[in-house]
């Protein structure tokens, strides 16, 4: 039986894009009109999820990289993953084949991953209050409310 733990977590590149500068990753979410900063461990997780892996693979990989036991690291990682999901920055795919995690060197010690969220520009992004359009009249006519 496939459980939630078996799903591959992968960065959602359909509505987001990112750039890395050393230890920092800047992510822009075009769907939500937000942008984010990820540093240190958060950036490492972002890189690992670019090609996708399950949550348990991610925790194991990070535990190995940072030389910390999985029980200690697991709640921090799970919480961060939930944040990414809430922001629609992750997609889920059913796990079928074994995914080999990409080895990564880490340049700084483990710190609880943090997603810094900036939403000051949300007003610039599409806001779609409902309105009626008569399909037959089409552009640029709106339907007459009367």
């Amino acid at each position: 039986m496939v459980t939630a733990q078996d799903f591959i977590l992968k960065i959602n590149t359909e509505y987001s894009s990112f750039e890395r500068f050393g230890d920092e990753v800047v992510v822009v979410n075009f769907l939500k009109g937000k942008y984010y900063n990820l540093e240190g461990t958060a950036g490492v997780i972002w890189d690992l999820l670019f090609n996708g892996m399950t949550l348990s693979q991610l925790i194991d990989c990070l535990a190995k990289l940072y030389q910390i036991d999985t029980e200690t690291i697991s709640p921090h990682i799970s919480s961060f993953i939930e944040q990414l999901k809430d922001e629609q920055l992750l997609t889920l795919a059913a796990s079928t084949d074994e995914v080999e995690p990409e080895p990564t060197e880490v340049s700084s010690p483990f710190s609880p991953p943090l997603l810094q969220v900036f939403d000051d520009l949300q007003d610039l992004v599409i806001l779609d209050p409902i309105h009626d359009v008569e399909a037959e009249r089409g552009w640029p006519a709106r339907s007459d409310p009367s």
Binding site: S17, F18, E19, F21, G22, E24, V25, V26, V28, F30, G33, Y35, N37, F118, D120, L121, L124, V125, I126, L127, D128, P129, I130, H131, D132, V133, A135, E136, R137, G138, W139, P140, A141, R142
Partner: protein, 328 residues
């Protein structure tokens, strides 16, 4: 279907402008060279002040038709977007391989259409009188954005001053005031709100608009600009147009500064990640199409330029020069 729609509407606009003897003007914004045809004088009067400094005599290499729908409504057509988008007020479409693009902002009543192959674009507004004030300060920017991308360039939301200083920062933090202060202190301006950036090493900023938008508070700080405010401007910020003598057509970029109000005027190094956060999101969210490509281009520009935090305090006419004096 959308491609055909864009083609047909641009063709319709071209015929209409020819029939009605539209007034045309030619412009140069770096490598982007439009000829703009205005069906009616009201459009000419409202949109050209922001572009005057870039007016040239030679024909452009593509044509933008400006139509006021209050007087000229195009022939109706079927809804061209997917049926499940009927309730959406804003749409965007961009097909770079075929050279078609469209943004439809039904909230503001502005449609921009672009047909690269035919060298035509249509800027249709539902009613000039109901447009938001900021549209007159930076008109036609969606179309200029698409043409810029076709020439390998990129629109960016920020101010650029003589000396190659690209200034950016959160809304309301003082970019415009700082930039206008620097102009009053003798620096020429390339742009205050949007500029066109040509990637390279160094990147080059080209002027598009001579508009400056300032709040009432900023105008009180810079009383010399009060007589320059365009009459009838409304909204949170007042609009003024700089004279050609205060404008610079192009400048190689030398540094990027993110503005912030501080305790004193000073410049300190800033991480490139913070610089990109200040520069990119507003540009991307305002342009609606080709956002991933834009982010890449802006990131490359940030990687090339030294990045600084510009803290400002006190007289806006001198804060930039004071801060630069301390920069080694």
């Amino acid at each position: 279907m959308i491609d055909q729609f864009i083609r047909e509407k641009c063709e319709w606009a071209a015929k209409l402008c020819k029939q009605m003897g539209a007034t045309q003007k030619h412009y140069r914004f770096g490598p982007v060279r439009p000829t703009i045809q205005f069906i009616r004088d009201d459009c000419l009067k409202e949109y050209t002040p922001a572009l005057t400094h870039a007016n040239i005599d030679q024909n452009g290499d593509f044509t933008i038709y400006v139509v006021n729908g209050a007087f000229i409504e195009p022939p109706p057509t079927k809804w061209i977007f997917p049926q499940d988008t009927l309730d959406k007020l804003r749409q965007a479409y961009w097909e770079p391989n075929k050279g078609y693009a469209l943004t439809a902002d039904d909230a503001q009543g502005i449609w921009s259409l672009y047909d690269r192959k035919a060298g035509r674009a249509l800027y249709w507004v539902r009613d000039l009188l109901t447009l938001p004030d900021w549209e007159f300060g930076a008109p036609l920017r969606q179309i200029l954005h698409w043409r810029a991308m076709d020439t390998g360039c990129q629109l960016a939301h920020g101010a650029v001053l003589e000396g190659g200083i690209l200034i950016t920062g959160k809304g309301g933090v003082g970019k415009s005031t700082t930039a206008m202060g620097a102009v009053l202190n003798g620096r020429r301006m390339v742009g205050e709100d949007f500029v066109l950036i040509q990637p390279g090493n160094p990147p080059i900023a080209h002027s598009i608009y001579c508009t400056v938008k300032l709040s009432e508070h900023s105008i009180r700080l810079l009383p010399e600009v009060a007589p320059l405010v365009a009459p009838g401007t409304k909204g949170e910020k007042r609009r003024l147009y700089l004279d050609k003598k205060n404008m610079l057509n192009s400048v190689p970029l030398e540094k990027l500064m993110v503005v912030k109000v501080g305790q004193k005027n000073r410049i300190t190094p800033l991480s490139r990640a913070a610089a990109l956060q200040a520069l990119a999101p507003s540009t991307l969210f305002l342009m609606h199409t080709a956002q991933k490509q834009q982010l890449k281009v802006l990131a490359e520009i940030v990687r090339l330029l030294p990045c600084f935090l510009l803290e400002v305090n006190g007289d806006p006419k001198t804060c930039l020069e004071d801060a630069c004096a301390g920069l080694v």
